[in-house]
C-alpha cells in the first residue's frame, strides 16, 4: 500500500495551494445570485428528495416528539390507551391540517390572481444550513418554469427571490438575508427606502431621512424599482424608529409581513413574457 510521507514542506505547500484556491473562490463568490455547477445540480437533485420527504413528514416528526417520547415511562395499559387517543388526535390533527392547508392555498391563489404573472406553487423543503444566510429550498425548479431572480411571495407578502435553480429544486434568498436588498416605499407617505435583512427574523429599513414623517405601524410595500419585484407587494411593518445623535438617516426596524417561522407553501411569480414584451407602436399611430 502506498504511504504518503509527511513533511513540513508538503504541509506548507498544501496549505498555500488550498489557501490561494479559497481566496480566489471567495473573490468570485456572489451572495446575491448563483449559477449552479453540474456537480451541484446532480447532488442537489439526489439529496433534496430526502429533504422533501422529511419536510412532508412534519406531522410524523411532531407526533414522535409530542407523543412517543412523553409516554415512554407509563404502564403498558396506559400506553395502549394513550396510543389510541394519540391516533385519534393524530387523525383530528391531520384533518385540521388539511383544512388549514386548504384555506392557505385558497388565500394564496386568490391573492396571486391579482398579479399579471404566471404562478408556480411550491413547498418549502429545507433551510440553509449556515447560520448567517437565510435561504429556503423549494420543491420546484427549472422544469416547472422557475427562473433565477423570480420573485417569491405568499398571501401575506414578499418572501424573496430565486437565487439558484436546478431541474426540480430552487433556492430562494429571503428578505431576512443581509444580501437581499428590497426597494420599498412606505404605503402611507410614499417615502422610498431599502429593506435589508438583519437577524432574529427582523429587517431594517435604510436611507430614510430624519425629516420624513414615518411612524411606527406604517406598512411597507415593494416600490417596483430594480426589476425583480412587482410593485405593491406587502413587505412588512415598521415596529421601531430611533434617531441617533448623528447622521442624516433614521434607524428603522421592520417586522416582515410573512411569518417565516410558519412558512410552508409559497408562490413563485414568473414574469409573463407576452405581457412584459413592449408592443411596437407604428409611426403613423404615433403621429396621430
Amino acid at each position: 500500500m502506498k504511504l504518503i510521507n509527511e513533511s513540513s514542506k508538503t504541509k506548507i505547500v498544501n496549505n498555500l495551494i488550498v489557501g490561494i484556491l479559497a481566496v480566489y473562490g471567495i473573490s468570485q463568490k456572489r451572495f446575491d445570485l448563483n449559477e449552479p455547477t453540474l456537480f451541484h445540480q446532480i447532488v442537489i437533485e439526489v439529496i433534496s428528495p430526502v429533504q422533501e420527504g422529511l419536510a412532508s413528514s412534519k406531522k410524523s416528526l411532531s407526533s414522535l416528539w409530542d407523543n412517543y417520547l412523553l409516554i415512554v415511562n407509563t404502564s403498558k395499559e396506559n400506553s395502549v390507551l394513550k396510543k389510541q387517543i394519540s391516533r385519534l388526535e393524530s387523525d383530528l390533527t391531520t384533518m385540521e391540517e388539511v383544512r388549514k392547508e386548504n384555506l392557505r392555498l385558497k388565500r394564496l391563489l386568490s391573492y396571486s390572481d391579482e398579479m399579471s404573472h404566471q404562478r408556480v406553487m411550491a413547498q418549502v423543503v429545507g433551510w440553509d444550513s449556515a447560520n448567517e444566510f437565510k435561504v429556503i429550498r423549494l420543491n420546484k425548479g427549472g422544469k416547472n418554469g422557475i427562473k433565477v431572480m423570480a420573485p417569491v411571495i405568499t398571501d401575506h407578502g414578499l418572501v424573496g427571490y430565486v437565487y439558484r435553480v436546478t431541474d426540480n429544486y430552487s433556492d430562494v434568498l429571503t428578505i431576512l438575508d443581509q444580501n437581499n436588498r428590497v426597494d420599498v416605499m412606505v404605503e402611507r407617505t410614499r417615502t422610498h427606502g431599502i429593506v435589508e435583512g438583519v437577524f432574529n427574523f427582523k429587517c431594517a429599513l435604510k436611507y430614510i431621512m430624519r425629516n420624513e414623517p414615518v411612524e411606527v405601524g406604517d406598512k411597507l410595500i415593494t416600490a417596483g424599482v430594480g426589476g425583480i419585484y412587482p410593485k405593491g407587494i406587502k413587505v412588512g411593518m415598521i415596529t421601531d424608529i430611533s434617531k441617533e445623535n448623528f447622521g442624516m438617516t433614521l434607524s428603522v426596524e421592520v417586522i416582515p409581513s410573512v411569518d417565516f417561522d410558519k412558512l410552508e407553501e409559497v408562490l413563485v411569480l414568473i414574469p409573463n413574457e407576452v405581457a412584459s414584451t413592449p408592443i411596437p407602436v407604428k409611426i403613423e399611430e404615433m403621429k396621430q
Partner: protein, 178 residues
C-alpha cells in the same frame, strides 16, 4: 500512528456521509420541528476535528472536500469555510503542544475557542464582501447560541470520529499521520 491511503479514503467517505446526514438534520429536520432561527453548523465541528486531531499534509484538501459537500446545503459556498478551516488548522498547529483533549470539558473548551476563531474569520470576510461593518457584531453574535450547543455535543462527535479515523487515545493530542 500512520494511516494507509486506502484507510484514509474509507474514513473520509464515512465522514462525508456523516456530514450529509447532519446537514439534512440541520437544514430540514430541525426547521420542521420549529427550530429555524439558529443553525447547528456541523461542518464546522467536523472540520475542527480534522484540524485539531489529525496531523497530515492532506488535511487542507479534506477540509476543502467537506466544504464542497457543505455548499450543497448552503449558499455560503466552499471557499469561505475552507479559508476559515485553514486558519484554524494553522492555529492548531501552533498550539499543538498545549492541546490535550483528555477530558470532555477540555474538548468543549477547545472547540469553543476554535469556533470563535472560525466565526471571527467568516464574519470578517462576509462584512468585507457586503461592505457593511455595522453588522459585524450582529453576525458574530448570531453564531453564539449554535456554537455553545456544538461545543456541548463535541465530545460525542469527536469520540465517534476518533473511532472512524482510528485515532487511539494514547496517541496524544495530535493523533494520526497519513
Amino acid at each position: 500512528m500512520r494511516m494507509r491511503f486506502s484507510q484514509l479514503l474509507v474514513s473520509f467517505g464515512i465522514t462525508l456521509t456523516l456530514l450529509v446526514l447532519l446537514e439534512v438534520v440541520t437544514s430540514t429536520v430541525l426547521p420542521v420541528m420549529g427550530w429555524k432561527e439558529y443553525r447547528l453548523t456541523f461542518n464546522v465541528l467536523i472540520i475542527l476535528f480534522l484540524a485539531i486531531r489529525m496531523d497530515s499534509p492532506l488535511v487542507p484538501w479534506l477540509i476543502m472536500g467537506l466544504q464542497i459537500i457543505h455548499s450543497i446545503f448552503s449558499i455560503e459556498g466552499w471557499a469561505l469555510g475552507t479559508l476559515a478551516g485553514l486558519i484554524v488548522l494553522i492555529s492548531a498547529n501552533y498550539l499543538k503542544e498545549v492541546l490535550h483533549l483528555t477530558t470532555a470539558f477540555m474538548t468543549m473548551f477547545t472547540v469553543q475557542l476554535f469556533q470563535f476563531i472560525w466565526y471571527l474569520t467568516v464574519t470578517l470576510i462576509i462584512c468585507l464582501k457586503i461592505s457593511d461593518f455595522d453588522k459585524f457584531g450582529l453576525i458574530l453574535w448570531s453564531f453564539v447560541p449554535g456554537s455553545i450547543l456544538l461545543s456541548l455535543v463535541s465530545p460525542l462527535l469527536f469520540w465517534f470520529l476518533d473511532n472512524v479515523w482510528k485515532i487511539p487515545n494514547e496517541s496524544g493530542p495530535r493523533g494520526v499521520e497519513i
